[in-house]
């Protein structure tokens, strides 16, 4: 089969060059690109804020910024990274691009709602940016009452509205994915033939639908309480700040599964392709995705062990938190088993996959420590927690995002990036990440509290290590921006299937045409048919 000259034929990128055709597009692939631009911008902002934090923490005294400013910095870092980068990242970019193609459809179920979701996201982001530049907010990304609802003097309402609005973007994306996966699969594409990327996005979308509305109403109540002076969480009126925590964490815990499940979906694709093997235990991995989504709704109280929640509830939430770790562990075992006796290729996406598996395991295991009541009393609100979630969010979610971005870059852009630079960046990122966050486990265990702009001088060495690591980590993020952008202009043209991977997306040209398929494909095979002699040719 000859390689079609992808830069000559009409594809979704060159079909129309006008700005209007981009801003009014209903093509899921273009919307994915719009999201890629927006979330990259927010990632840069969130990263700059992190840089400021690590700079401030080089010295034990608060000599770079004042306490109030420091509070605003970590609050904005958390809000930006969680709501405007991590939660949309993989679903809005890779999910939007790939879900229709992977199920063999011409577009998502509701293309105009897809475009609306991007505008809603941008509007919410605009609100939050305005809030940031006109004074910022200092409540922590968790907005705990009564500080946020009564006593804070910062732009709580504006930020809360920004997050509220952006939440609808998440809801609309999840709605689109769930309905698309149910109703628009190509003939022959039964549930157990779907790529695990789709299963992961299905599970993620369930969480987006069922969880996001709760934080929406909760944040609205905080804004109302603050703006209109009515009491909802105000203890003076018999209100209960812990009720806020219940409602907040009912979403915000499942939210962390929104952030990690898509990354796990990417992992399945990468590990299968770069081991040239079917995923070991496909059914287990698929059901684990849904199990994580469901169980993830039953554990939120583990954020409230020391908040005056009843001990009885604490014990139940602790036990359920142990249980939710099991499906994640099953996935790690299955990816590892996939690699056993596989034909491993160490290209950039696979390096990110290895990084993910190791770092996610560490992050996940430290989550078990935190779920243990007695240990949590000791390390709650210390850097141990900070290290735990950064291992999962950065070592896990972001590695998956970058791995997926590299893997599907040729498909999305029609260009090949430089493998040499890709590997250098992946290794740099891995080393920088560990240097940044491993010392924080030690710091937390030794008792350094989080969200403090000063610390005892004996912790300085570890903090300096962490800040040094942050510099390397920053370099690791900068490199892909440079060589991926370079590849857009000077990269070699990619054929339809440079990796020799299975999956419907690799049977379209790179970049794909606007409506994905000339004829609706008919699927007759299981996913990851790498051992079939006809599949997996590098083209």
């Amino acid at each position: 089969m000859s390689t079609p000259a992808s830069d000559v034929r009409t594809n979704y990128l060159n079909a129309n060059y006008s700005v209007r055709s981009w801003l009014l597009t209903t093509d899921h692939k273009r919307i994915a690109i719009l999201y890629l631009v927006s979330i990259s911008a927010f990632f840069a902002i969130g990263g700059a804020l992190a840089g400021m934090l690590r700079l401030a923490l080089l010295t034990p005294h608060g000599d770079l910024v004042q306490a109030e400013t420091y509070n605003k910095l970590f609050t904005m870092h958390g809000i930006t990274m969680i709501f405007f980068f991590l939660i949309p990242s993989i679903p809005a970019v890779l999910g939007n691009f790939l879900v229709p193609i992977m199920v063999g459809a011409r577009d998502l179920a509701f293309p105009r709602i897809n475009l609306l979701s991007w505008y809603v996201y941008t509007l919410g982001g605009a609100f939050t940016l305005v809030a940031a530049v006109t004074g910022g907010v200092d409540t922590g990304w968790t907005f705990y009452t009564p500080y946020s609802s009564t006593y804070a003097n910062t732009n709580v309402i504006l930020t809360a509205l920004g997050v509220f609005i952006t939440g609808f973007s998440s809801i609309l994306t999840g709605l689109n994915f769930v309905v698309t996966i149910h109703k628009m699969r190509a003939p022959g594409l039964t549930w157990n033939r779907l790529p695990l990327f789709i299963w992961a996005h299905y599970a993620t979308s369930l969480i987006m639908l069922l969880g996001t509305p709760v934080i929406a109403i909760t944040i609205l109540l905080v804004a109302l309480e603050r703006g209109l002076g009515i009491g909802i969480f105000d203890p003076n009126l018999g209100g209960d700040p812990v009720l806020f925590q219940h409602l907040f964490w009912f979403y915000s815990h499942p939210a962390v599964y929104i952030m990690i499940l898509p990354s796990m979906g990417v992992m399945s694709e990468l590990v299968a392709c770069f081991s040239r093997k079917r995923i070991f235990g496909y059914n287990f991995v698929a059901f684990s995705s849904v199990a994580i989504a469901v169980l993830g709704f039953l554990v939120w109280g583990h954020h409230m062990f020391v908040s005056s929640q009843s001990m009885y509830a604490g014990m139940i939430f602790s036990l359920l938190s142990f249980l939710v770790a099991i499906p994640s562990a099953i996935k790690v075992f299955n990816w590892t088993a996939t690699m056993y006796k596989g034909s491993i290729a160490l290209q950039t996406p696979m390096l990110y996959a290895f990084g993910f598996i190791g770092l996610f395991t560490i992050g996940g295991l430290t989550g078990i420590f935190l779920a243990t009541l007695a240990v949590d009393v000791h390390v709650h609100d210390t850097y141990f927690v900070v290290a735990h979630f950064h291992y999962i969010m950065v070592g896990g979610a972001i590695m998956g995002y970058l791995g997926g971005l590299h893997f599907w870059w040729p498909k999305i852009t029609g260009k090949l990036y430089s493998e040499v630079w890709g590997r250098i960046a992946a290794v740099t990122l891995f080393l920088g990440f560990n240097l940044t966050f491993f010392p924080q486990f030690v710091l937390g265990f030794l008792g350094m509290p989080r969200r403090y702009h000063v610390y005892p001088p004996e912790f300085q060495f570890l903090n300096v290590m962490s800040s040094a690591g942050a510099t390397v980590l920053g370099l690791g993020y900068l490199l892909p921006i440079l060589y991926l952008t370079w590849s857009l202009f000077f990269g070699k043209a990619a054929g339809p299937n440079p990796w020799g991977a299975t999956g419907l997306e690799w049977q379209t040209p790179s970049p794909p045409p606007t409506f994905n398929f000339d004829k609706t494909p008919v699927v007759a095979e299981e996913a990851y048919a790498y051992d079939s002699p006809l599949e997996g040719h590098r083209v």
């Binding site: 179920a109 509701f110 309905v179 109703k183 628009m184 109403i217 209109l228 009515i230 909802i232 018999g238």
Partner: protein, 215 residues
Amino acid sequence: MSDHIPQVAHQFEDATQQYETATLGMWAFLITEIMFFGGLFAGFFVYILAHAQAFAEGSRHLDLTLGTINTVVLLGSSLTMALAVRSAQEGNRNGQMLFLVLTILLGLAFLGIKGVEYAHKFEQHLVPGPQFRLEGPHAQSAQLFFSFYFAMTGVHALHMVIGVGLLAWLLVNAWRGRYTPAYFTPVEVCGLYWHFVDVVWIFLFPTLYLVARHA
């Protein structure tokens, strides 16, 4: 003017897939609404445990007559909405328009009565905030009840306003003859939304108005 060929969007194979996908999509949206209102109900249930007497007192200050009338009005609007969908399904253009108009009128009546209730609350100094005044030992916690009353009925009323807007859009299209037995998906889907807003009220009414009427 009248369109006998069902309009099928490009991403769908046929009209059936489009219809099933649209209704499933609306149901997916409705479950997000269940969770949205659910947060408010969860908060209310937590507080009524701790402040049973205050909440009972607050509830007794609500106008049960207007609340009951509103319940009947909204249930009636659900009937007319269901009949509007039925008319569209049968290709009855006059029936569609009649029942849509009735639904809109009943919806506006509900909102009007709600407005009257709100005005009364304002006059009685029962709006939470610095103007709030209530006699008795439970004033502080009763204010909490009214915060929830206004938040829950306010969010519900907002959904009604959106619903009336959707119905007006349907009415214009029905007048243009766009809905036929082969394509009445928007009417069905907006109907689902309207009925859901009614279901929320079915739970709001006893929760807020019937806490302890016998005392």
